[in-house]
């Protein structure tokens, strides 16, 4: 059994104040760095390139530090791409049209998975090549014609910009990578869809 008479080991008031100041200083520095990176990334938007195909929009990367975007110029929106989906591209081949007559579904692929059954670069979805998923654009009041659910509820990973809701719909039954990998890719695209933003087009 230990003795009952113990030495005082806690912070003094002064020490406590100092510890708080250290934490505050670190926080302020981190915030300043974050703001600087954020400011830099919006200016390195890999947006529209008028020479690129309308059906497949390769991703343009800018010198680091950057945020890579997938710009869907037909809709004037862009999605920030994390590292795991930085080689994303889209095609409107096989898309149906929305209320404004524009394609309503941008099928998504990853160049790195093109050779394993997810190459939708020229044909859109086929039996042998399935997309990773799609970014779709609908009115917030639109419903899935089969389930009857609002797209906004059926695919909550999205955001409303102006009159349209932009969401991510994973393609079921794809097998061009391990289930774990595909799940992480879906998660990354979902996050990207939630961060969809207006893109400036020339």
């Amino acid at each position: 059994m230990k003795g009952t008479a113990s030495k005082q080991t806690g912070f003094s008031i002064v020490e406590g104040v100092l510890a708080i100041l250290v934490v505050l200083a670190l926080g302020a520095t981190s915030f300043a760095v974050y703001q600087r990176i954020k400011s830099s990334s919006t200016t390195t938007d890999a947006a529209s390139n008028p020479n690129q195909s309308t059906n497949q929009q390769p991703v343009t990367t800018a010198p680091a530090p950057t945020v890579t975007y997938l710009t869907i110029k037909e809709w004037s929106v862009k999605l920030p791409l994390s590292d795991s989906i930085k080689d994303a591209y889209y095609t409107f081949e096989g898309s149906n049209s929305g209320s404004d007559g524009l394609p309503n579904t941008a099928w998504l692929g990853l160049t790195s998975l093109n050779c394993t059954g997810c190459n939708i670069s020229t044909t859109g979805p086929t039996d042998t090549n399935k997309p990773i998923g799609s970014i779709f654009r609908v009115l917030p009041t639109d419903r899935d014609p089969v389930t009857g659910s609002l797209y906004t509820q059926q695919y909550p990973n999205g955001v409303t910009i102006g009159s349209y809701y932009y969401g991510y719909a994973p393609w079921e039954n794809k097998s061009c990578a391990s289930a774990t990998t595909l799940q992480s890719i879906d998660t990354a695209f979902s996050a990207a869809a939630k961060s969809t933003a207006t893109a400036t087009t020339n």
């Binding site: 096989g94 898309s95 149906n96 049209s97 929305g98 209320s99 309503n104 579904t105 099928w107 859109g124 979805p125 039996d127 799609s134 779709f136 654009r137 609908v138 639109d142 419903r143 899935d144 014609p145 089969v146 389930t147 009857g148 659910s149 797209y151 059926q154 695919y155 719909a169 393609w171 079921e172 039954n173």
Partner: protein, 487 residues
Amino acid sequence: MQKYFLQTSHRLPVLLIALAAALVIPFISLPEIARADINNTRADAFGTDELAGASWLDGAGVVIKSNGSSAGDHSPITNNSVNGINSGEEWQCVEMVNRLYLTQGWTTANWSGDGNTLINNVPSGLTAQTDGSISYLHPGDVLTLDGGPAGTGHAGIINSVGSTIQIVNQNTVAVYSSASLQSGTSFGAGNADIDMSGWATYTVQTVVHAPQVRLGALTTTPSYLAKQNSYDNNPWVTINNDSTVTQGIQSGSLTAVVNNGALWVKQGSLSSSWVTEMNSGVAKAAIFDNYGTNTMRIGYLSTSGSFFVKEGISGTWTDEYDGVSAGYLAGSRIGVLTSSGAFLVKDGTLGASWTTLYTSGVSQGVVSSNLVGMMLSGSFYVKQGSLSNPWTDEYDGAVTGQLSDLGYITPIRIGVIDNLGNLYVKEGSLTATWTTIYNGVVSQAVLSGNLIGVQTGGTYLVKQGSLGASWVTENTGINNITLWTPN
């Protein structure tokens, strides 16, 4: 007596309450009352009749049922059947497709799959075209889609084809949906790409074509009538009722008439517009189309005895042969019977070389894509395959002969009308056994795939399917018949 009545001042409020109760109580006591809202089947009870079969596909549809409030399975899962054949899970989209096709006799067994996997199990005899490579579309065709939240896609039935395409669906919110062709694509170019407006996250996958039939009849009036599709509820359509019409023909998507010496052709719907292919000087016409299997060809025999052929509606005429009494088109083959009784056939381009099959004495030539036949001194001779193959004497004592070898599911057929007017047909090979198809005076017989048509005493009879199938009286007051099917 007065004590049994309410006071006047109380009567009105009580009656109003009673009326309100009468209106509300049925909805409280009967929450599952079946009501059909074809624009929101999800609000209807599982199994509700949404659309009667008589209300679509020109009356040849099947009942569209509600799958209830959700698109998924209902427990316990029950399968429906048609004449004992499983049509699939009630009331999924694929069940309706199966029920229609089984009811129409277009399939004879369950067509298994989800909406997006039906394409992997297309029944024998049906043909599919991938979206973006579609060359024709007809009511009754199956449209399949991939994608969607469940990953099982969807399947519906084409109900009408025009500037917009109407689709009838089961297990969707709305029974009807519409589509159109993507800009820059067309059936004529064989690259039609269907756009299902509003179906975000889905993609049109394929069209599986229903078997098609077209019948034509030149009446004694005269006028030219036609009807299409294998379901019998389709009415005859007056194609041309000018008293000067002398010939009408059906082949694939083409309809042609010779009217007052002019050749008019229309493509697609029976109600589409005429194209004047030749203004005058046409004695008789020949057309061939098999929905893209071979190049579409249009031909005419001029009143001066020359046979001209062109490829496509807007092609250029080629004078194929002069001194001709009859011209024939089938597949990649062109045939002519000369005024002197020689029978010549070419296979390939319009400029291909002629092969003389017989030099004189031929009274009738018959050309199909892989068979040729001729009537010579009362006998019908046929050769199969290469034009240089030997003739087989098929029947002695015949008046005319007919051939068919373009059916997707029907073996070759050879038919003859004998001196007494009886019709005999053999199926499968040149040496098959003859079957008596019609005992009596047959004025004209036509074979196409699994169809046999005869004109006897002005009555137009057709049988579809096996050689032993029953006759259906199609029309009366007829003096010339034509028919076509890809099957």
